[in-house]
């Protein structure tokens, strides 16, 4: 189902454990997750399979709550979540753009191989996600993530 998937592949010049921390800790998430000047707030992450993954996105004055569920949390290697379920894998009603996202991390000489896969219910949804700016947006926030993670290096 490759046409259902969008993939972003980058090498980030920051340590793998910090990239994982930035993806999984609310206090870090708020610094890089949205293309500026948009931002997220009220991030709640219960870092376990079935744990809640919540935030509110602030885009041009609009506030959009985002509800999801952690699927996999393998420290410093993989983080996966979906918007099709809430806490304890509770299926959510009225999902019109169901996706799961998997962030795979591995070592690179320069830092971290950063591989994001966004999987969608249909090829049409994937295409509309792409049209909404997936590659550009996720690419932009990957750059923000890299800069923020570098600022955490002690």
């Amino acid at each position: 189902m490759t046409d259902h998937n969008l993939v972003l592949h980058r090498v980030l010049k920051a340590p793998r454990h910090l990239i994982y921390a930035c993806w999984t800790q609310p206090e870090h998430m708020v610094h890089w997750f949205m293309p500026k000047p948009h931002f997220i707030a009220d991030v709640e992450i219960d870092l376990r399979p079935g744990g809640k993954y919540l935030s509110t996105m602030h885009i041009d004055g609009n506030v959009m709550p985002s509800v999801g569920c952690v699927l996999e949390a393998i420290p410093d290697r993989r983080f996966a979540f979906t918007n099709m379920m809430g806490e304890d894998w509770q299926p959510l009603p009225g999902i019109d753009m169901g996706f799961s996202a998997t962030i795979d991390l591995s070592d690179a000489p320069e830092g971290t191989v950063y591989h994001v896969t966004a999987r969608h219910q249909t090829a049409e949804i994937a295409a509309s996600h792409e049209a909404m700016g997936f590659s550009q947006g996720w690419g932009l926030v990957a750059t923000q993530l890299e800069a923020y993670a570098q600022s955490l290096v002690k």
């Binding site: 189902m1 259902h4 399979p49 079935g50 699927l71 996999e72 996966a80 979906t82 099709m84 379920m85 304890d88 894998w89 509770q90 299926p91 959510l92 009603p93 169901g98 996706f99 799961s100 998997t102 999987r119 969608h120 219910q121 249909t122």
Partner: protein, 154 residues
């Protein structure tokens, strides 16, 4: 969200390790997983988070595929699966019931404390599952499971 949740609780007179084995081995699962005289013609299960869990049910001569995935595995204690996601966290375009199921096993003086929880997207969907015979069906197969273990594996 209790109105979206259906729960079956039983004590099975069978050891927990065997109940677990029967749930997680295709060669065992096909012997008890659907109420007789219906049959399971094929089972594909990769017992890991994001692994496939596909069954092919035969009812009155008609074949019904049920494709989904394993979400969480705590060996001997808990199995979580869904029809909302396929292997590799691939979202399903048009899920059947749209559920997640959680099987929880605990030791009991008489054998195994057996809890099956089915979570649904809406109260209507849960009611539909109930009307389709959730308690009868899951209760019947729990009895079949107990009988299978006691007659064939003990």
């Amino acid at each position: 969200m209790t109105d979206t949740t259906l729960t079956l609780h039983r004590i099975l007179r069978a050891p927990r390790a065997l109940v677990w084995e029967c749930w997680t081995s295709p060669e065992h699962l096909r012997n008890w997983f659907v109420p007789r005289p219906h049959t399971i013609e094929n089972v594909e299960m990769d017992l890991m988070p994001g692994g496939r869990f596909n069954t092919l049910m035969k009812v009155d001569g008609n074949l019904y595929p049920n494709d989904g995935s394993i979400i969480a595995v705590d060996t001997g204690e808990r199995l979580v699966f869904t029809d909302l996601l396929l292997a590799g966290w691939q979202p399903v375009a048009e899920p059947g019931l749209g559920f997640t199921a959680e099987l929880i096993l605990r030791d009991h003086a008489e054998g195994t404390d057996y809890t099956a929880i089915a979570r649904h997207r809406t109260a209507e969907s849960a009611a539909q599952h109930e009307a389709m015979g959730f308690h009868d069906g899951w209760g019947t197969v729990a009895s079949q499971l107990e009988e299978y273990i006691r007659e064939r594996l003990m």
